[in-house]
């Protein structure tokens, strides 16, 4: 069956092509190729997962050789191990649910067919990244994802916010992608091949400098795509795109691609402890900073965006301390609850028409299904056992504490503080949206109603996933972990009862604090209790402003200077050459003044001069 693994990215790609060019001939509209393509891809992925489950630890690689340039040999194909199988199933499920949800959310949008095709293309690209057997193949998928992200964030391109957000996302991730590209070069050259299996196999044999350089350069791309500090600035602004996109790209798939690549090439990182230290430091900074920023956000979707940044940092921190299985488990759990939260937010926004929580409140009676599923998602986000996000986070923290050394202790400490803040903002999110009294416009309140089945069904499915992904941990031994085949040298997934209890207490404390503040003052934003300390949080620690000053303004100034140079120097030179020629022409024009005598004078004088010269010369 693994011979057919190439269908997994190929089917959505085909659906994208059909959707882009032939959607008007397909009966049922553009949604059909999109949904059918993704569903079939899911089917193949499930079969692959079943295969991986029955043969744990097996790696199936099917490749064809390809020589794009003379002397440059690649082998393109698929490499299916447990990690790839599980992740491809996750991606396909979330993509399918998003496509189904979008049929209602984007109903009436004039560009829906392009949207559906772009989502299919994106799914294909992500799946290509997941199953790729060659680093360049992976890079192709990586770059196409960046392109689709740009296109989809800029879906509402008639608004300034969407346009600039799309450009910001693309440029910021591009900065990371440059490092990523060079990382591929370094690793490929050091391993003698760009095949993933070869790179992973020879990682321990590479020179320390090469493997560390490669790992760090790849990390640049990870930081960009997975929105870690300092390239995190694009993700909150990317919320200008449609909400289902945020669910797919900025929760479950694209941002997880960075973590996935680190996991896929983990032996490289095992051989480069310095790179892991860097990753860990970045993760700690991002984890806490993003959680604090989420605490102060009023925009519903931006809260979730900051939350994504923070949760990805958890995964990054896990990989930094060697907790491979726990990080991947958290990736899967995060995909589930974050997609759920985004889709629930979409359901709310579609009714209420505003993103700002200060204009919402008391919506739980009118949006019952959304409310219940959102609460489940928030609980998973906060890390409340037995929901999905709890055990994965605890596993990371346990591994950090027990096996991480100094870095691990830092991760543990920061992780606990972040857990408190995470619980706080998750609770704040629920309380401000669904509890209290309605703070928005009255005519809108009358229209608020539950979303159609096509939208609530995915919510229910994802809520079930949040529960189920947590539950298997409790009775038996880590069902998810057995599907993944962790590389040797990583910390296996295990939990410490004391640790679980401690983190549960912290989570409950965070929630309780917010609930208490709500009870005291039901309609006031709980973050105002921090007073002036909230200012850095609201401005997200002014990172965007720093970039504005350091990068954006000089870039604009340079552009203006270039244009001035072009206008006044280069253009002026060109124009001046024309004017100069005209001036010379004007001078010459005086020779032809119409006076015949002048012409004849010139003629005679020159002829006589010639005659004199010749005769003098001859006479000599």
């Amino acid at each position: 069956m693994t011979h057919w693994a190439w269908l997994v990215p190929a089917l959505p790609a085909f659906a994208a092509v059909v959707g882009l060019f032939l959607s008007r001939y397909v009966p049922g509209g553009p949604a059909v190729p999109a949904i059918v393509g993704t569903a079939l891809s899911l089917l193949v992925a499930v079969v692959l997962l079943a295969d991986a489950e029955s043969n744990p630890g097996a790696v199936h690689q099917t490749t064809v050789p390809w020589t794009p340039l003379d002397g440059f040999h690649l082998s393109i194909g698929t490499r299916i191990d447990g990690l790839a199988a599980v992740t491809s199933v996750m991606v396909a499920i979330v993509a399918l649910l998003v496509q189904i949800y979008s049929t209602a959310y984007m109903a009436g949008d004039p560009r829906y067919s392009t949207y559906a095709a772009e989502v299919s293309l994106f799914t294909a690209a992500m799946l290509l990244v997941v199953v790729a057997s060659d680093l360049f193949e992976l890079l192709i998928g990586w770059e196409v994802m960046g392109l689709c992200s740009y296109l989809l964030i800029g879906h509402y391109w008639q608004t300034e916010g969407a346009r600039s957000a799309a450009v910001k996302a693309f440029v910021t991730t591009r900065i990371g992608d440059t490092g990523f590209l060079f990382g591929i070069f370094v690793l490929g050259v050091a391993a003698g091949s760009f095949d993933v299996g070869q790179v992973v196999g020879r990682a321990s044999a590479m020179s320390h400098a090469a493997v560390t350089a490669g790992a760090l350069l790849l990390l640049a791309g990870v930081v960009g795509k997975s929105a870690q500090f300092p390239l995190h600035v694009w993700l909150p602004d990317a919320m200008a795109g449609p909400t289902p996109i945020s669910a797919l790209i900025h929760a479950a798939t694209m941002v997880a691609a960075g973590i996935y690549v680190v996991a896929r090439l983990y032996p490289v990182y095992l051989a480069a402890p310095d790179a892991r230290t860097v990753l860990g430091v970045i993760a700690c900074l991002t984890m806490l900073g993003a959680a604090l920023a989420a605490l102060a956000e009023d925009d519903l979707k931006r809260v979730l965006a900051w939350s994504t940044v923070s949760q990805l940092a958890y995964m990054g921190a896990g990989l930094a301390v060697g907790a491979w299985t726990a990080s991947i488990y958290h990736l899967l759990a995060h995909a589930g609850f974050k997609a759920l939260l985004f889709l629930a937010a979409g359901s709310v926004l579609r009714s209420v028409g505003t993103n700002l929580m200060s204009e919402m409140g008391g919506l739980r009676q009118r949006l019952p299904v959304t409310f219940v599923t959102a609460v489940i998602g928030a609980a998973a986000l906060a890390g409340l056992p037995p929901f999905a996000g709890a055990f994965s986070k605890d596993a990371i923290l346990t591994a950090a504490r027990e096996h991480g050394g100094a870095l691990g202790t830092a991760v543990y400490a920061v992780g606990l503080v972040t857990a408190f803040v995470t619980a706080a903002y998750a609770t704040r999110f629920i309380v401000r949206t669904f509890f209290g009294s309605y703070r928005g416009a009255l005519d809108v309140r009358a229209q608020v109603h539950e979303s159609p089945l096509v939208m609530t069904a995915p919510l229910v499915v994802l809520a079930a996933a949040c529960i189920l992904l947590g539950a298997p941990v409790v009775p038996n031994s880590y069902g998810v972990a057995s599907w993944l085949d962790a590389p040797t040298g990583t910390v296996p997934l295990h939990l410490d009862a004391a640790g679980v209890v401690l983190s549960a207490v912290i989570v409950i404390a965070g929630s309780a604090a917010v609930v208490a503040l709500y009870r005291r003052r039901p309609d006031e934003d709980p973050v105002t209790v921090l007073g002036h300390a909230a200012t850095p949080l609201v401005h997200a620690f002014w990172v965007d402003d720093v970039y504005e000053r350091l990068v954006v303004r000089p870039a604009y100034a340079t552009a203006r200077a270039m244009r001035l140079t072009d206008d006044s120097a280069i253009d002026a030179a060109v124009v001046a050459s024309g004017q100069g020629t005209s001036a010379v022409g004007a001078l010459l024009r005086r020779l032809q003044n119409g006076n015949v005598q002048a012409y004849v004078s010139g003629l005679v004088v020159v002829v006589i001069a010639i005659v004199m010269t010749v005769s003098l010369a001859v006479a000599r």
Binding site: Q597, S601, V604, V605, V611, M612, S615
Partner: protein, 172 residues
């Protein structure tokens, strides 16, 4: 090469040459176009004399007949028809005078120098020359130069027709 002395022919020719040059100068400096035309007559007359000294009788008579008799008359007609004032002429073209003087001097000077350096020993024996009377010139034309003669007549015809066409009043 024997050196020859100054003969009567030399003197006569020299005097006629002086007359010719002087009247030519007056032609180009006269303030009145009619006066210029009359000085032109004097110049042509002196030239006819020069031709006679050079034993070119037929040419001398043709010079008088055609040049003085027809061409100068034509010019007088032209001057009067273009209402050149009988009185003082408009100012000569003072803008071009310096250049013209330089050009004239240079042209004359160069030619003189060339000619003198090339032919300073040339001598025309006027007593034993082939006389260019009517019979001799006529024979020469109709024996050796018939074609140019015919072409010249065609040329005259063309000039005649052309002059008539050019001076027609355009009928609109």
């Amino acid at each position: 090469m024997t050196r020859h002395g100054v003969t009567v022919a030399d003197v006569v020719f020299g005097l006629l040459g002086v007359v010719c040059l002087a009247s030519a100068l007056l032609v180009v400096t006269a303030r009145n176009v009619i006066h210029a035309a009359l000085w032109l007559v004097a110049c042509f007359g002196a030239l006819a004399g020069c031709y006679l000294v050079l034993t070119a009788e037929f040419v001398a008579w043709v010079q008088v007949l055609i040049y003085i008799g027809a061409i100068v008359v034509l010019m007088l007609f032209g001057a009067m028809l273009t209402r050149a004032p009988i009185g003082r002429l408009q100012e000569l073209d003072s803008h071009n005078r310096p250049v013209a003087a330089v050009a004239g001097l240079a042209a004359g000077g160069t030619l003189c120098a060339l000619v003198v350096s090339a032919f300073k020993d040339g001598y025309v024996d006027v007593h034993h020359a082939a006389v260019g009377d009517g019979k001799a010139v006529g024979t020469a034309i109709f024996r050796f130069f018939v074609l140019p003669f015919e072409l010249a007549s065609v040329l005259l015809l063309a000039a005649l027709v052309g002059a008539i066409v050019l001076s027609r009043r355009t009928a609109h």
